[in-house]
Amino acid sequence: MSGPIGKRTPYIEAVQKVTGQAQFAEDFHFSNMLYVKFLRSPHTHAKIQNINLSKAKKLAGVCAISIGRDLPIPFGVLPISPDETAMAVNKVRYIGEIVAAVAAESEKIAHEACSLIEVDYEPIRDFLEPDDSLIDCSPDEQIHSHSKNGTNVHKVAELYFNDPKKAIQNSDISCTRTFKFAGVTHGFTEPHATVAQWNDDETLKVITATQVPHYLQKYLSKVLEIPLHKIRVIKPVVGGGFGGKSDPFPHEIITSYLSIKTHRPVKCVFTREEVFISNHGRHPTKMTLSVGADKQGKITGLDTDIVIDGGSYGSFGVVTSYYNGVLLQGPYRINEFGFTTTRTYTNKPQCGAMRGHGAVNPRYAMEVIIDELSHSLKMDPCDFREKNFLPANTLTVGQLRITSNGVLDCLKAVREKSAWDERYGNMPDGRGLGIACGFFISGSALPINWNRYPQTVVHTKLDFDGRVVIFSGASDIGQGSDTMLVQITAEELGITMDRVQVEVADTKLTPVDLGSYSSRVTFMVGNAAKSSSIKLRDELIKTISKEKNIKPESIQFENNRIFTEDKSLNMSWDEGVEICLAGRGSIVTMGYYISPQLGGKFKGSGAGLSPSYSFGAFISEVSVDKKTGAVKVEKVWGAHDCGKALNPLAVEGQIEGSIHMGLGQAISEELVYENGQFLNSNFIDYKIPSTLDTPDMDVTIIESDDKEGPYGAKEAGEGPIHPVLPAIGNAIFDAVRVRMYELPITPDKVLRAIKEKI
């Protein structure tokens, strides 16, 4: 490849970001703007008996107040669980739920007005633990009336292939363990922010920190009852998402509503505490996992029972429930396979999608059990894994279609680089190595909302100025998708990246893309951008070959020049553009992506389907202080198969960021609940690792060349997090011979485990 594909490419917006020019949602100021603040529930579960706004309304500077009844239409990112309203209607379901919103001339006034609103509540029995939610309760105690069989169960997802229980029973060896995972949250540095502006032409413009402008447009339309074509959602520069900005949010809907009501621009910026309260993070999880193997170390079956604590609303929970199970089908061959995931509603902030969606906790459990099984068989845990890997081009038992697969290369790379074979099991007391592998989807093959449209469309525009503009709905949230689009287009057209610009994530200007979630963007939008730019190149070839009477096949594009091998044609890009646009002016080509038909014919077969899967293997080295139980992760070697690294700089960044985030969940991060509210909704007590806590990292990119991915590429943004946690857990075992079944692995737990062993 002669262009930028595969080269280390700084982000196109990097200079804007280092100079402070990049505009995030909170940075937008409009004249005559109002500010919103929210009154939030102090109760976990209570009926709203009365709301008295009279005092608040009288406060000077208050322009509008709205309450749940104003926006009663339910929504939810998944059309199967529209269980949320913009504000609490009739009852509140968690502490922190929005009960009323005030738009005022300043934040201070809005805040003060909120404190003047009087609400009478009648508390109802609350359900704070999943165990409580599993048992029967009276209908008026139910958190949601649609819950199953008079309980507070939101969803039971289960799939069984063959007879895993029996297979495990009949295995030579088996291991069954119960694991507990605390809830964790995204912790992006930019708090949620939204600016809404209702225009004179009765259109709504919403600038908001989101990963899913398209879904937001859809639900704004639904809840506000405004036609889709009057809503323009713009995603500015976004300060991280990791899944935490991938739902349509109440504050976005309310801010928009208040702008419509007041006919003025309205701004909403969350405090850090509000970001925590909104959560949508990884579900607190309890799971029991059984895995069997034969004497040769072949896995014979897997059976698991998982309960995830969803909090008060659905969010992505149905998908999370399935992902907890189905994504255990790789990277190992398991023919006897089954899981049941139960998602409960509880009176706590809702959980949703977070990097590695649904699969991070089960991956920890699986990789720890594999470690135990290999120890029972006195087999090297790397060898054990190697024996069980799925090959390339195969189907799993649940008919996930595996295409490219570089897991073996990943394992070999980290095994060698960490000097595993010499060092594993031979390290001084208190120091250890651990291995784990990973597996993740590269885009969900099924769209969330079933429809007949492609999953993404890209337009590529060429005009007289020689500039190429890519129009795409793709949402860059820091992962580098804008840069990826430019790289691909520059590559195909043989022009330098400075000639290519993007217009992205604006539902008025850009064709629909479903959003930045499920690691879909490079694979799907990359393919669409590639096909669109190829069409543009074909237009250039067609017109130039006709005018210059040259065979189309001989025309090449490189370095801003259009030429033939023999130089009978040798013109600048601009000359070519002039020929191409003669007599018609600017042209636009389009490309799209539709996932192939995949999957089986059974209920639940759609879960986990992806056009491709990523793989990885990570090794970590830890030291453990046996006196205090403190764990220090010294180094992590990570190898990830991303098919092809379109931008190695960005891929490394994703892997390094995953190591950091995985480390946090493994040893320090935890949302601590105290009667339904977080005890630690701040950056002092929610412990995101600092520079001093983050280990050395050695990153290896494995390129398995996916035949359907753009240039062979597949995902790198989420897959790398999965192996990080169990690699740490397994290294702790190697260091001090204790198994950690509970996350985060804080010093007190390690110390307890060490003491219990003696």
Partner: protein, 309 residues
């Protein structure tokens, strides 16, 4: 709710006059502690008296016997001061364990000594506190930790205090009646609400005086991350040439705790049992109570091993 004036005295005398004439004021040093209290509406002063312009509070002076540190010296400045570094590495170690490097460029020695006591159930937003029904130290009538109405057990978290306890530091306070010099130990009350003493009559902590005295010191702070975190347990210890020792513990009681003795008169178990008796540790920190208690023993063990060498 809002502050009416922001005052910037140029001398201690100025500050005292302002304090006298402005009811419900707040002394503001670096502000790295108190700002969050203001934002969370835990305190609602009408006037802020910013001590940062007072030059006389920023001096570090030394002679053969002691070093005196102005209360408004930043933690960063004391870490970089040569005489402190030479004679009191313990102070440097303690100071560098506080907050973050950037915070330490603003945070002051005085502010750290007088840092407000902390508790999981108190250091929260207004809305959060309202949802639990507040607590004794705020406007409620129950302690949320003990669920009783008797006493508040908020924790003193000053890392410097632990170090200064074992260095036998003195503090100088100026107030409307001239002022006083006292042992740092006397500055604290074993009370989660009224945790400081001798600051009445608008008292301003002006100086810390450290006697130069040979001995070997030891410091350790319990926290999850190597930065940012407040202490879950801080132990500083000094053994003098005559085998007298002073141990300062903090983060585990309503005030810093001092244990003194002579190594020839007491053994490790005796010291541990004294520590256990003196600390009123309750479950109001992110780290589990049992673990923090265990760590008192473990740290004392480690200190003990270190002095055997």
């Amino acid at each position: 709710m809002s502050v009416k004036s922001y005052l910037k005295p140029q001398s201690v005398t100025d500050a005292l006059i302002m304090a006298k004439t402005h009811a419900n004021y707040l002394y503001f040093a670096g502000g790295t502690d108190i700002q969050v209290y203001l934002k969370q509406q835990l305190i609602k002063p009408d006037h802020i008296i910013d001590l940062s312009d007072i030059g006389e509070l920023q001096n570090i002076a030394s002679n053969d016997e002691n070093i005196s540190i102005g209360s408004m010296t930043t933690l960063d400045a004391i870490s970089k001061n040569n005489s402190i570094y030479k004679d009191f590495p313990l102070i440097v170690e303690a100071a560098q364990s506080i907050g973050t490097p950037v915070i330490r460029k603003t945070a002051t020695v005085g502010g750290n000594i007088l840092v407000n006591n902390r508790c999981n159930f108190y250091n929260q937003s207004f809305g959060w506190r309202q949802a639990i029904g507040s607590c004794l130290r705020d406007v409620g009538d129950l302690c949320q930790v003990t669920k009783t109405s008797g006493k508040c057990f908020s924790r003193n978290v000053s890392d410097l205090a632990a170090a200064l306890f074992c260095l036998d530091a003195k503090v100088i306070i100026s107030n409307q009646n001239e002022g006083l010099e006292l042992s740092i130990v006397d500055l604290y009350n074993q009370d989660g609400i009224d945790f400081h003493k001798h600051l009445d009559h608008d008292g301003i902590l002006t100086k810390i005086i450290l006697p130069i005295d040979a001995g070997s010191t030891w410091f350790k702070k319990l926290r999850i991350r190597n930065t940012l975190d407040f202490s879950s347990l801080t132990i500083a210890a000094k053994v003098y040439d005559n085998r007298n020792f002073r141990i300062g513990l903090n983060g585990v009681s309503m005030s810093p705790v001092l244990i003194t003795g002579n190594l020839d008169m007491i053994d490790l178990e005796g010291i541990k049992s004294l520590a256990r008796k003196s600390c009123k540790t309750v479950d109001n920190d992110m780290m589990p109570l049992k673990y923090r208690r265990e760590m008192i023993d473990v740290y004392l063990d480690q200190w003990w091993v270190s002095i055997q060498k």
